[in-house]
């Protein structure tokens, strides 16, 4: 065990545990990091939602004049970028961070300081991206003219505006002048690094940190989905990193990768982007599928139907997800053989997806269903994801996709799977695991109001988009004329969007109220099945008072219940005593526990990326290159200092 005696004489003294706000800056505790991810992600969710509400005002009627063209392009780009990279991915990280060690019986992740680093890189990357509103410039394409002779768009338009997908050469130096797309390409690069580091951490954790007896096929489904997502991140992020470097070099160093006037290849960007971009969408949905697979059994009072099938289907989706990227490019001029191949490959993904849906149905079937809020959101997930999944299958019918692609029909598809799917699943998880975080229950009444408002709002918003797309409304379109006849349904869509916003407000009220005055949850409030409920609520700092020893799937359930001859559960005579015993050893661990010490280095290393980012963009200005060098030096020295810092400083006994 590590105790090297003398404390390291780093530039700063090694921080101690629990010293007020610096606690959060220097923490390496996976739960605190998860909480920071969660609040940050939710903050960006609200920002991304506001961007959507603004652009829905512009599109509510024909020939809208709420936004200028430049502002509209900025709003739809930032809405997509924010929701994908700054909300769904980080809130997935929030769940992975907080829950994964608890689900596998560990005290923390494999590399706590690296875990903190992932968070700080993410938050500084997000700040960097959004600082484009303040500092970014965006002019017309070279040779073009902005209204009124302006050289730059308004502040609302001066942010990343090439679409979240940044198709080249439109998002290259010739056609997107100014700095906003440098903020975009560099900002995304920084965010990608954060997720890559996290993925290494989570894979190492799942492989090496499982409790005794926690064989892989005894892990909760959410732990499995975390693992698959980590592998998807691991293999897809490098490709977008290469693509983003190529764009950044085109914009900053004069390389010619995508400059079609000089031999560059416009379609190459799309291949590289979608090689990442398609696995990315499974990264977005699999965590929510994992959450739903946890929640449905608990509130059906039965095990997950077909656990191995659900696990393998998830892995299959991940694996197959690498083979379908060009289905985003069916109209791009790729050969008919390629179109056929990718169409067929895309169809195959429907199979494991269907397997999961049917197994979820099988879980509910012949269960005893309690309509708690997490259950409502999980049921909503299944119903809405099916719609999105089916519209996805219609895209795989390639010639049909030639009509559907780049229209609102696609927007409908991905919002059903991402909103009806991922976001509903995320809310299910937030309501379900709220007691672990706070020791209290969220209000069921407000929860149900939230659910119904959101369900109705979501369908009003995205349902009509199927129709609008098939009627010819294309994507990313600043306005549409009266003659296109889109006005009625667009108004419905806009109203629906505001209903969604109202439902989010209800949720926020619920969260704040319940955190302060919610009913105390006590131990195991849901009578659940998995081991994160075998420890007290809120989760103690050391997670498990005693290292768990797992005897099978749904271990916690089997400590409380036996099966009778019919296969129905019978509560064990000593179940209450067992629960009390677990509570006691959770609150008062019998043996000393050593937790890793906090560290400044992840924060400083994360901060250095800000300097690097600004330094690259402004390297031609007098102060830019020195700033860049400073950032690199800061990064290197913080990493070196980190590697010199021992894992633990002295003995920090948390429990005497």
């Amino acid at each position: 065990m590590a105790n090297t005696g003398a404390p390291t004489s780093t530039i700063f003294r090694r921080p101690k545990q629990s010293s007020s706000w610096t606690d959060w800056l220097t923490t390496v505790d996976h739960k605190k990091i998860g909480i920071m991810y969660g609040y940050s992600a939710f903050f960006f969710f609200v920002l991304g939602g506001i961007e959507a509400l603004i652009l829905r005002l512009q599109l509510a009627g024909p020939d809208g004049s709420v936004l200028e063209a430049a502002e509209y392009n900025a709003m739809f780009t930032m809405h997509g970028t924010t929701m994908v990279f700054l909300f769904v991915m980080p809130i997935g990280a929030a769940f992975f961070n907080y829950m994964l060690p608890l689900l596998i019986g560990a005290r923390d992740v494999a590399f706590p300081r690296m875990n903190a680093l992932s968070f700080w890189i993410f938050i500084f990357g997000g700040i960097f991206l959004y600082s484009s509103f303040l500092f970014g410039t965006t002019g017309p394409p070279a040779g073009g003219n902005l209204p009124g002779g302006a050289t730059d768009a308004s502040w609302l338009g001066s942010t990343i505006n090439g679409g979240w997908f940044m198709y080249q050469p439109n998002a290259g130096p010739r056609f997107s002048t100014g700095t906003v797309l440098d903020y975009g390409s560099i900002g995304l690069q920084i965010l990608g690094l954060s997720s890559l580091i996290a993925s290494v951490n989570f894979i190492a954790t799942v492989f090496n940190m499982r409790a005794k007896g926690m064989k892989l096929l005894r892990m909760p489904v959410f732990a499995w989905m975390t693992t698959v997502v980590a592998f998807l991140l691991l293999f897809s992020l490098p490709i977008i990193a290469v693509a983003l470097f190529m764009v950044t070099f085109d914009r900053q160093l004069g390389t010619l990768f995508f400059d079609t006037f000089q031999g560059g290849d416009a379609i190459l960007w799309q291949h590289l982007f979608w090689l990442f971009g398609h696995p990315e969408v499974y990264i977005l949905i699999l965590p929510a599928m994992g959450i739903v697979s946890e929640v449905l059994p608990v509130f059906s009072r039965k095990p997950l139907f077909g656990y191995p099938a659900v696990v393998f289907a998830g892995a299959a989706i991940g694996f197959l997800g690498f083979g379908v990227w060009a289905h985003h490019m069916f109209s791009s001029g790729i050969t008919p053989v390629a179109q056929a191949a990718f169409g067929l490959a895309t169809m195959t993904i429907a199979v494991p997806t269907g397997i999961k849906i049917f197994n979820w149905l099988g879980t509910m079937w012949m269960g005893k269903i309690k309509f708690t809020t997490p259950m409502l959101f999980s049921l909503g997930f299944v119903a809405l994801f099916v719609v999105g999944g089916l519209s996805g299958v219609t895209h795989s019918i390639v010639p049909a996709d030639w009509q559907q692609t780049d229209t609102y029909y696609i927007v409908a598809h991905f919002h059903y799977v991402l909103f009806g799917g991922a976001i509903f699943g995320i809310f299910a998880g937030l309501y379900y695991w709220f007691p672990k975080l706070t020791g209290r229950m969220m209000s069921e009444k407000l929860g149900k109001v939230h659910f119904w408002l959101m369900f109705i709002g979501m369908n009003l918003t995205f349902g009509p988009m199927h129709w609008l797309g098939l009627q010819g409304m294309v994507r990313r379109t600043w306005k549409y004329p009266e003659e296109y006849n889109f006005g009625t349904w667009n108004m419905v869509v806009t109203v629906g969007a505001y209903i969604i916003a109202l439902s989010i407000a209800v949720f926020m009220v619920n969260w704040i109220k319940s955190k302060r005055k919610g009913v105390p949850s006590g131990m195991d409030p849901w009578d659940a099945r998995t081991i994160e409920w075998s420890i007290p609520n809120p989760t103690p700092e050391w997670n498990f008072g005693v290292n768990p020893e797992v005897q099978g799937l749904d271990d916690w359930w089997h400590r409380k219940y036996d099966d009778d001859e019919e296969g129905r559960p019978v509560r064990k005579a000593d179940a209450d005593a067992v629960i009390a015993q677990f509570h006691e050893q959770g609150v008062n661990p019998p043996a000393p526990i050593h937790l890793p010490s906090p560290s400044y280095f992840p924060f400083i290393a994360g901060l250095s990326f800000l300097a690097i980012g600004y330094g690259v963009i402004y390297h031609t200005r007098g102060w830019g290159l020195p700033l860049l060098i400073f950032g690199v030096v800061l990064l290197l020295s913080s990493l070196i200092g980190w590697s010199l810092e021992p894992i633990e400083e002295e003995h920090e006994e948390v429990h005497a």
Partner: protein, 200 residues
């Protein structure tokens, strides 16, 4: 031993030391990174109609062979450093680590010299000459940066060994993981050298 919270026993469910495991996981990601860069080069290298020169026209294969050999030798010294650590011979470990870092730096110097030559030729080849050149410099440039990061890690290990008196398993940076990384960087170079320089 990784830096997790623990009580008396630390388990490694797979039996592989966690930091080495993490390095393997990270390197599998790096395969994709270099795979994309190499594919990119392969896409552009043969495209007709670009302004001259194409990368294959300016290569000095004998020179690059020598620097490739230098990098290969550095993998050998890395193995020797690892071996010395297992025998707990701190002095030899340091020596071989320094040797590896030096050989890496010689390789890098060779790259810089080579690139300087390309841009100062009569018909220069720069980043912006044509997409094939862009792809070439990006690929080899990123490889060079990986070598540089490796050299920094090696020197850090040497520094750690001096500060602590010996290289131990208490700190995060770990010789076996760095060795893995170094060998990976070498293997990638072999692939690049073959595909980019040798194969027409």
């Amino acid at each position: 031993m990784s830096d997790i919270a623990h009580d008396e026993q630390v388990h490694e469910t797979t039996g592989i030391e966690t930091r080495k495991l993490a390095m393997w996981i990270f390197l599998s990601s790096e395969f994709m990174f270099f795979g994309a860069l190499i594919s990119n080069y392969l896409l552009f290298k043969g495209r007709p109609g670009f302004p001259e020169p194409y990368p294959s026209e300016v290569f000095d294969i004998p020179f690059t062979s020598v620097s490739s050999f230098v990098l290969l030798m550095s993998s050998l010294t890395m193995v020797l450093a690892d071996h010395a650590l297992h025998k707990d011979d701190q002095r030899s470990t340091r020596t071989w680590l320094v040797a590896t870092a030096l050989l890496g730096m010689v390789f890098l110097a060779g790259q810089v010299f080579e690139f300087a030559g390309f841009v100062t030729e009569e018909v220069p080849m720069k980043l912006s000459t044509n997409p094939a050149a862009s792809a070439f410099f990006t690929l080899t440039g990123f490889h060079g940066m990986h070598v540089l990061v490796g050299v920094i890690m090696l020197l850090t290990l040497v520094g750690v060994s001096f500060r602590k008196g010996k290289l131990s398993t208490a700190t995060g940076l770990n010789l076996e993981s760095v060795a893995l990384y170094w060998h990976f960087v070498d293997i990638i170079w072999i692939v690049i050298f073959t595909i980019v320089y040798l194969i027409k």
